[in-house]
Amino acid sequence: MSEQSRSDRATSAVLWLLAASFALFFLLPLAGLVQRGLSDSGTWDSITSGTARDALWLSLWTSTLTTALAVIFGTPAAYLLSRAHFPGQSLVEALIDLPIVLPPTVAGVALLAAFGRRGVLGEPLDELTGITFGFTTMAVVMAQFIVAAPFFVRAARAGFDSVDPQFEQVAHTLGASPRRAVLRVVVPLAWPSLAAGLVLCWARAMGELGATLIFAGNFQGRTQTMPLAIIEAFESSAGLAGAVALSLLLLAVALLALVAFRVAQRGGAYR
């Protein structure tokens, strides 16, 4: 009996110890960032600089546009993957999941190979219309979309899977059109997953670096998002100080977004 409780206590201690180390590993870098930022006199100037403002604004609106596009094109894809059954379905699923497991640099190189000026689609497009993607904000959104949208589709699909198709059938028998059944029954029931997918997608887009740098380049106000600005600051003579300042700014925005998400979710749950 006492033997049993002693072993329970030991297990519990190990559990807490491992969990605490886990938490500490996330806390320490953040603490270091804040400590560095606060101890450097140039932090405020870096945060309020034109470079930081342009980069933050670009990151915010491109990530939001990317998420909106993911919802518009990704929701039908997720719904069909959940409800329809068609040949080659698992292949399509794997294809959509691929960017999640691939490094974004691969996505950047692949985008160049397809949409670059010498790309499969990019070359004829350039010759016929003169439209090119490289070094444009459009390229930033394309890079973000390819790495971030799969996170939304994945979550949305899981959400639709969790809704019993019988609910839709009941809605149909009650006279609801298929569209109405999806919008009024399926989407609200799948909402927690959809919302989580939205946040994941937006956050992933905010953090996109590799594909953007390779496919879109780096130009203030046009393609220089926050992660790229941090890289550039890191390479500057200001060294770590500038990078720390911009990282703190991005950290603050991320925290704000998380809190807003939590508040919105709680509101949704009480409704």
Partner: protein, 255 residues
Amino acid sequence: MRRLAALAILASLLPLTAGCGSGDASITVFAASSLTDAFREAGAAYEAAHPGTKVAFSFASSQALATQVDEGAPADVFASASEEPMDALAKAGKAAAPTVFATNALAVAVAKGVNIDSLDDLARPGLRLVIAAEDVPAGRYTRDMLTKATAVYGPGFATRVLANVRSEEPNVRAVLTKVQLGEADAGIVYESDLSGGPADVARVSVPAAVNVVARYPVAVVSASKHREAARCFIDFLLGDEGQAILRRHGFGGPG
């Protein structure tokens, strides 16, 4: 007595010769991206000449590497594409006294099928130009060169060229790649980047009168645990074989 003195002299010589002979030392060299090809070859040649020695490289922009060394990255040798990041490290006591081991100059990389014959053409409206970011050495040299060129090509030259810039790449190798891919029509890179005749680009030289001299310093990192092996690698770079490799890759001598 004399025998003892001779022995003492021999003994004092031993560590010197042992240091640069064969051994199982392994060193990490932090080097500017523009040195990528030359140093890979130099590293292989050094390893061949010193069996058992391993040379590992980390290539990035000089400034990023200097920041990493400053933050305590485990480098033994630091080779920079400009003197500022190196001098800052040396002043802070993080690197030993640097030695210039190579020089470089700027050149224009032109994409296949693009009609550019001289530096002057870079001011042509609508040209897609890519350069290195202002804070990396190649980017700073580029802006210095454009300022100098303004005196030759007329007022507003630098402004008109910079208006064509579509991207400021974080290192000079990325500039070359963007031109090779045809994403950019032209890019300003180092002479050495074009020495091997890279695919899909043509080279247009920058006139000596407006060009810059990029001086490459190298030093042993103070925190290195293999200072002797690091010193040997630097001696190799400064020696005939190292210099011949650098020359083959388009670098000028340190003089």
